[in-house]
Amino acid sequence: MSMKLYSSLTKKYIMSLAGLFLLMFLLVHLTINLLLLFDDSGGLFNVAAHFMGTNPIIQAFQWVLFGGFAIHMLIGVILQIQNWMARPKRYNKRAISEESYFSKFMIHTGIIIFIFLVIHLTDFFVKKIGGVVPEITGGELAGMENMGILVVEKFKNGGYVLFYVTVFLILGFHLDHAFQSAFQSLGLNNNKYTPFIKWLSHFIAIVISIGFITIPVCIYFFK
């Protein structure tokens, strides 16, 4: 994707659509993760993980998801580099004006999410593909990979829990600006609905961030 091939606005349209798509994915992922909390045996989670890991439609969709991440990140980085280049000499004294605060750190929060993603994928996805996940013994689910055990083991490690919590707070910061920003980028701004969308942006960021955070915290302290 050359810098000049698409206009600045087209890049933002693609970026915002990819971002909204990633948000859908996060909500699905969160729902599945929460199964770990609501079902002590871990059975529900394992069934869901198994379904996500074997269903052909989901498997095909997985590549759309990787594509979504790749496009979002690629354009994000290109836009950011252009933005840095647009002001070669910085100000000596810079005050803060009224602005969307987290918009200033999208590239930083984004890169942290990316680093987490790499670690996360090596922890779970690669292990699963590599077939080193313990199998469930006995019961109806015998023979299925026991992803639940893997997760619970991880979250018994305090350092890992702390890392996970930090990353999801940072994801929350990314989303806090991101959701409402995507609407503005797509030209969907309106006196009647924009205040609601801004509120919803904070709400979604909090729900996703806190949602993901409760899981390791509960496992660490209560399981």
């Binding site: 600045s8 933002k12 836009l79 933005n83 002001r87 803060i96 999208m106 030209g187």
Partner: protein
Amino acid sequence: MKVKLKIWRQENAKAKGSFQTYNFDEVSPEMSFLEMLDAFNTKLITEGKEPVAFDHDCREGICGSCAMYINGHPHGPVSGITTCHLSMRMFKDGETITVEPWRAKAFPVIKDLIIDRTAFDKIQLAGGFISSNVGSAPEAHSMPVIKKNADDAFDAAICIGCGACVAACKNASAMLFVSAKVSQFALLPQGKVEAKERVQKMVAKMDDLGFGNCTNTYACEAECPKEISVTNIARMNREFLCAKVS
């Protein structure tokens, strides 16, 4: 009152430039910021020194030439005004006032605080006009315009092209300016005819000139002396998308 002025001094476009700090004691709180600079320049001249070059014209907030970045804000710390409307009353006795030119690749410094805003003219020339000769004002009933559209078009048209949006934006993006110019036409019947072409040409020119991209940070709206709204940016995003897909 007394102030300490920390001003960016740059001989010419090629020179490196640096900050110089001066003590200036003959300031009265009734002075406007530009009057204070005038008085300061008179002092420099009597001392045989080079006065500070800065742009100004109307001194009543409509020409948009008094571009300077004062204490971290375009046009100084008071919102909704230009530098020529800024009063020395707003500063404390003994305060250090940092004065810098706009910083953007597309707005190179010519001398001291004066920057070259030709980039904005180029964007206007790319499409910020209507090509038909509309003659004098028509009979009002011959071309009805919805009141809200007329108001919104007016609110966009009051943009004075000062460049504070670019100066304030962390990405030196010109989206607020360009979107105001796109909106003022897009909302009115005379401008609708060429709307699709206009938005595409103006955006292409804006990208070409090396302005940054919009991250919806909205510092532009907060710092705009004419308080132009970022809803214009959304309108331009909408106009451009529709122009591309239709």
